[in-house]
Symmetry: C2
Subunit: 408 residues, 2 copies
C-alpha cells in the first residue's frame, strides 16, 4: 500500500467508512468521544450483535462500554494513539475487533472500530487504520464545533429553566422542540457537589459519563462552580423516584470507578411533571445538599427530597425553637440522668428513633444486646415519662434531638 488512499477528500463520514471498510476488508464503525455512532460501513454485511445494537441505538450500548472500561480498552485508547485489539466477550455479543482513537492535539475526538470477522488485521493494516483515524480528524472537528454551538444553546436553555426565566409552559415546550429534545412528561433535578471547582477537564469526563449512561435520559446538564446540575427525564419509568435514586447512586460510583473522583455529595428533587417547576426542583435538590451540610452524619443516607422528613422544614423549626427557648422535659430528665449515672439513654433513644423503632437494628447500631436495649428503653420510658408507642411523642423527641444537635 504505497499511496495513502485516505488522502483523497470525502464528502461524508459514511462514505469514508465504506472506503476504509473496502481497504481493510472488514466492517468499520466510527464513533465520537461519547460513543455515539457517527458512521458505519454498509458494503460488508458481516457483523456481530454488539455492532448491530450500536447501529440500531445510534450509540454503543451501555453494557458494552462498561465492559470495555473494565477490560482496560477505553483507558488505553484514551492514553495512546496506537490501535488496540479487543478479544471476544461473548456475554455482550462482542466479537474480535480493533479500535483506534481519533486525536486533535491532546484530545480524543472519537474512535474507529474494525471488526475482525474472518481475518485478523496485520501490522500493515493496523497502521492503515491509524492513518484512517488521522484522516477523520478534520471532519470530527467540524462536527464538534457544530455540537459546541448546540451545547451552548442547551446551557442557556437549562439556566432559563433553573431560574424560571420562561413563564409559560407552552414557551418551554416550544424551546424544547427547537432544541430537538422531546420534553419530558416526568422529570427530576439532581445536583452533585464536588470537593473542588470543576474545570474544563472534569467537565469533559462528566459529559462523557452522562452521555454513556443511557437510562434515565439526562436531557440537560450544566456546571456551576463545584456543582453539577442535571435535568433528568423519567418518562415511562414505573418507579421514577427509585430510578432517579438508583441513577444518582450509580453516577457517584462510576465517577469514582472511572475517574477516581471521590467525596461527591448528591441531592435530588421530587419528581414533577409540570415543566414550570424546574426551579422548584432545583431548590429542593439544593435543600438536600444544605441539610447534608448541617447534619453530616444524620443525612449521609438521605439523597432525595422526599426522604428529608423533618429536615425539609429544619430552617423554620430552628428559628421557631430558637425564639421559643425550646426545652424538652423528657430530654432534660434523660440528660440529667445520663450525666449523673454515666449512661447513654439519650443516645440510645436517638439511635432507636433513627432506626424506626426497630429494636434489633438499633441494638446492632449501638453494639449492645437486644435485651440491654429493651431494658434501656424501659428506663427511658420511666425516667423521661415517654410513651414510645405514641408517634407524636416520638416525633417530638426526634425533632428536639435533632434541633439540639444543630445548636451545638
Amino acid at each position: 500500500m504505497k499511496n495513502d488512499p485516505f488522502r483523497a477528500s470525502f464528502d461524508s463520514l459514511e462514505e469514508f467508512a465504506d472506503m476504509v471498510s473496502e481497504v481493510l476488508h472488514c466492517p468499520i464503525t466510527i464513533e465520537d468521544a461519547n460513543h455515539r455512532l457517527l458512521a458505519y460501513s454498509t458494503h460488508d454485511d458481516r457483523t456481530d450483535p454488539a455492532r448491530i445494537a450500536t447501529i440500531i441505538g445510534r450509540r454503543v450500548p451501555e453494557k458494552v462500554i462498561n465492559s470495555l472500561w473494565k477490560e482496560g480498552v477505553i483507558p488505553s485508547l484514551l492514553n495512546s494513539r496506537e490501535p488496540v485489539r479487543v478479544k471476544t466477550v461473548d456475554e455482550i455479543g462482542l466479537g474480535n475487533r480493533v479500535a483506534v482513537s481519533i486525536w486533535k492535539n491532546d484530545e480524543v475526538l472519537g474512535f474507529i472500530w474494525a471488526l475482525e470477522i474472518e481475518k485478523t488485521l496485520g501490522d500493515e493494516e493496523m497502521d492503515c487504520l491509524k492513518r484512517a483515524a488521522d484522516a477523520t480528524k478534520n471532519k470530527l472537528i467540524q462536527l464538534q464545533n457544530r455540537k459546541n454551538k448546540k451545547e451552548e444553546q442547551y446551557q442557556e436553555f437549562f439556566w432559563q429553566l433553573l431560574t424560571s426565566h420562561l413563564s409559560s409552559n407552552e414557551e418551554i415546550i416550544n424551546k424544547f422542540h427547537a432544541l430537538q429534545i422531546s420534553p419530558p412528561t416526568l422529570f427530576g433535578v439532581a445536583v452533585f457537589q464536588f470537593s473542588k471547582e470543576l474545570g474544563r477537564e472534569d467537565e469533559k469526563q462528566i459529559a462523557y459519563l452522562l452521555k454513556t449512561i443511557q437510562l434515565p435520559k439526562i436531557l440537560l446538564h450544566t456546571i456551576d462552580h463545584q456543582q453539577l446540575i442535571l435535568f433528568i427525564a423519567l418518562d415511562g419509568n414505573q418507579q421514577p423516584v427509585n430510578k432517579l435514586n438508583a441513577f444518582c447512586e450509580l453516577f457517584v460510583v462510576k465517577m469514582k470507578e472511572r475517574f477516581g473522583i471521590e467525596s461527591i455529595v448528591q441531592g435530588y428533587s421530587s419528581v414533577y411533571c409540570d415543566l414550570g417547576k424546574v426551579e422548584k426542583a432545583y431548590k429542593e435538590a439544593r435543600t438536600v445538599l444544605s441539610v447534608k451540610r448541617k447534619f453530616p452524619s444524620e443525612a449521609t443516607e438521605i439523597h432525595g427530597y422526599q426522604s428529608l422528613g423533618i429536615y425539609k422544614y429544619i430552617d423554620v423549626l430552628i428559628e421557631k425553637a430558637g425564639t421559643d427557648q425550646n426545652e424538652n422535659y423528657s430530654l432534660k430528665r434523660l440528660q440529667e440522668y445520663d450525666k449523673k449515672n454515666n449512661t447513654d439513654l439519650v443516645e440510645t433513644l436517638e439511635v432507636f428513633l433513627n432506626k424506626d423503632s426497630n429494636v434489633h437494628e438499633a441494638a446492632n447500631a449501638l453494639n449492645v444486646h437486644t435485651n440491654t436495649l429493651n431494658y434501656r428503653l424501659k428506663r427511658i420510658s420511666e425516667i423521661g415519662e415517654i410513651n414510645l408507642k405514641d408517634p407524636n411523642q416520638k416525633i417530638s423527641l426526634y425533632l428536639d434531638l435533632k434541633l439540639e444537635k444543630f445548636k451545638k
Copy 2:
C-alpha cells in the same frame, strides 16, 4: 332543752365545737364548704378513723368525700337545711354520724358533723344540731370574708405569674411566702376550656372540686372567660407528667360526674422547675387547646404539650408549606390512584402512621383484615415509592398529610 345554749356568744369555733359536743354527748367537727377542717371538739376522745384522718390532715380525706358524694350525702346537705344521717361505711373508716349544713341565704358555708359513737341522736338532738349550725353562721361569714380577701391576692399573684409580670425568681418566691404558699420545685399549668362562659356558680363548684382533690396540689387557679387556668405543684412525684395527666383526666371526669358539666377540653404544659416559666407553660397549655381546635379529630387524645409532636410547630409549618407550594409526590400518586380505583390508600397510610406503624392496631381501626392492610401497605410502597421503614419518609408523609388536612 328550753334555753338555746348556742345563743351565748363564743370566742372561737373550737370553743363552740366543745360546747356542742357537751350538749349532744358526741364528738363534733366543723368544716367549711370545701371540707377543710375549721374546728373539732376535744372533750370527748371517742372517735373513728375518718375523723382522725380529717383532723390530722386538716381536711376531709378525698376518698371520704368521694364516698359521701356517691352515697348522696353531700348532695342532700347542699339541697336541704335538715340534718342528714350517714350509715357506717367500713372501707373508709366512717362510723355512723349526723351532718347538717351551715347556710347564709342560699349558700352553704360549711358543715357540722356529730359522731354517733355509742348513742343515736334523737329528734330533739337533731334539732339542736340544726340550731348549732345556725349559730356558727356569723363566724363562718367572717372567715369567708377574710378568705375572699386572700383569694383576691391569690388571683392577682397568679395573673402576675401568668403574664411574667414579676421579673426575678427571688421576687416570685417572696410573694409565694407572703401568701403562705410554699413555692413548688416542680410545676405545670393546665387550662380547661368550657363550652360556656364561667359564672359565679360554676366558679364555686370548680373551687370546691379543686379544694377537695388533694394530690396534686392546685396552688393557684383562676378563671378567664371560658377557661379555667390551674397552677399545679408536682413536687415529690416520681412521674410528674403522668401525675399531671392523670389529674387532668380526673378533673374532667369529676366535673361531669358531680356537676354534669361536659365537653371540657383540656390542655396542659410541660413540667418546669423554673418559676420564671409560668407564662411559657401557660402558653404551652393554650397551644395544646389551639391545636385541638385546628385538628379536632386528630388531637382529641392529646392533652399534654410534650405529646404534641409535630403539632408543636404546626403554625410555622403551615406557613412554610403555604409559601413553598408544598406538594408531596408520593401522596399525589396515592391520591390519583385512590380516585381512579376507588381505593383508600391515603386513608390507610394515615391510620397506619397514626397508630405508630402498628399493623394490628391500624387494621382494627380500619376494620379490615391484617393481611388486607399488609397488602395495601405493599401497594402504597410501590405506588408512592415509599420506604415505610425510613422514619424520615414517614415523618414527611405524616406531616404532609396533616398539613393537607388543615388546608381543607
